[in-house]
Amino acid sequence: MKGLFAKELAILTTSLKRNVLFVALFYGFISVASRQPYMAYALAFFFTLICLSTISFDENSHWDTYVRTMPVTPTQIIGCKYLCTLGGLVLGMLAATGIIAIINLVCTVWVSEPGAISFPADVAATLLVCGGMVLLFAALLLPLSYKFNSVNARSWLFLLIAGFAGLGGLLIAILPAELRGGFITLLNNTDEASALLMLAALFAVMLLVYGISYRVCVRIYEKKEY
């Protein structure tokens, strides 16, 4: 499996290094300059997407065919993609945290703008929400990419997102007003610690979904024909 990671890292550093650095610095600069910490959270999504994009590189070079002649199992091949994607998410979250720390420093030391300071609990909560959404996105996109190829997978994913969003909106619309109001009241009355705990639990659920996605993806890959 070392060789698979070496290949992923080589592709990421040679093909995408410039893009990644530019976007990270651009987002970071804009975020700090405008004191908009919420821009920085997009890096969690960006870094994950970069890692996911290696699937299309594999398809273009027919590496996906070639690797099946090598002494690696489908579990290892798919496992490497899932771990690299998770690594991208972690890197993105760390980058976001770093940028927010810089904004906090700027707003404390150089520019007095207390409204732009992010508190640790807020940062943690937002990272958990962003991380959870990115994990769900990757959990859906990876098996779709192996089932339909990376280009068609995006179309399927947008259809799925539209479907979920539509269904969610419909559910909210048909929920009785008391229930909707009650839910909002519950959220407002939840203390910080409990809210963080709920979000952490949701993130853990997303990790579980990610793990199930991995199992499904391995099955898809084993049956795939090249």
Binding site: M1, L4, A6, T69, P71
Partner: protein, 286 residues
């Protein structure tokens, strides 16, 4: 050591508009088997089944004492596909590191760098700057550097100039010299196979028409040029196919020696692999 590097028995694979097999094909240890066939005959499909890329719908495949589905068995396999490369932003050094991680203790850095030097490849140059021949050479270096017992080549010399092809053919002959190594190579450049192959397997519309010793094959088949009346005197089982033209008939015949005895005054040249393929294809088109 096993007598066969690979053995396919009753292998079948069904697609919507094409069926491969059943195919029985063996690759004897220490030999080069050339796999020929028209475009769409099923050569690449067959090689992919042997290398573990896809699974057969029927039959059994034995590979180097194990099975294609077994990752440990594939560690002894070296593969070069015509259109499967490493991504163009990588360089040879990065390819080597990936392959070293994949093959572990089997990987030989000295051998890899030796092949890069022999092929004149710069380890630090990105693959996008490589020509097609250079990419194939890198694929070959990567396939050989972990000391495979069986080399599977799918159109590995396609699009290469004669000088480079000659170098690679010499390399293939070196590879099998110690009798522990074998090669199964598909190629449209039949002249290459006539030069290096020990046996030829002909795949035609998903069926294996024959798998024979190359020298015997080239001795056995002939191209007969004569009139219709001379053809009529030949036994039916000698004639594979006849093309009738304005100036006479051109036929692919088996048992060339026997035909020459039947018709001593008639021209019957040795058939090349190209001739064999053209006539068989012509027969089935009719």
């Amino acid at each position: 050591m096993a007598a066969n590097a690979a053995a396919l028995r009753g292998i079948t694979k069904h697609y919507k508009n094409f069926t491969l097999g059943p195919v029985d094909l063996t690759v004897p240890a220490g030999s080069i088997v050339g796999l020929i066939g028209e475009n769409g005959a099923g050569k690449t499909t067959l090689l992919k089944l042997l290398c573990g890329v896809n699974r057969a719908d029927g039959g059994t495949a034995e590979l180097l004492g194990g099975f294609p589905a077994d990752a440990a068995t594939r560690a002894k396999l070296g593969v070069v596909f015509e259109d499967a490369f490493f991504y163009e932003s990588l360089n040879a050094a990065q390819v080597g590191r990936s392959m070293a991680g994949l093959f572990g203790a089997r990987w030989n850095w000295e051998a890899f760098h030796g092949y890069l030097r022999r092929f004149g490849l710069d380890a630090d140059q990105k693959l996008r700057a490589y020509s097609r021949g250079m990419r194939l050479k890198l694929n070959l270096a990567a396939a050989l550097a972990h000391s495979p017992e069986l080399l599977v080549l799918d159109e590995a010399t396609a699009g290469l100039d004669p000088v480079v092809r000659g170098e690679l053919l010499d390399l293939f002959l070196e590879f099998i010299q110690d009798e522990r190594h074998s090669i199964l190579m598909s190629s449209h450049i039949t002249a290459d196979l006539e030069q290096v192959a020990d046996s030829i397997a002909y795949l035609h519309r998903g069926q294996l028409l024959f798998h024979e010793n190359k020298d015997e094959l080239l001795q056995e088949y002939g191209v007969l040029r004569c009139g219709e009346d001379a053809l009529a005197t030949l036994p039916a089982d000698c004639l594979v196919f006849t093309k009738r033209g304005a100036f006479g008939c051109e036929s692919l015949v088996k048992s060339r020696t026997a035909v020459q005895e039947f018709l001593p005054g008639v021209v019957c040249d040795a058939a090349s692999l190209d001739d064999i393929m053209r006539f068989y294809s012509g027969r089935d088109t009719q």
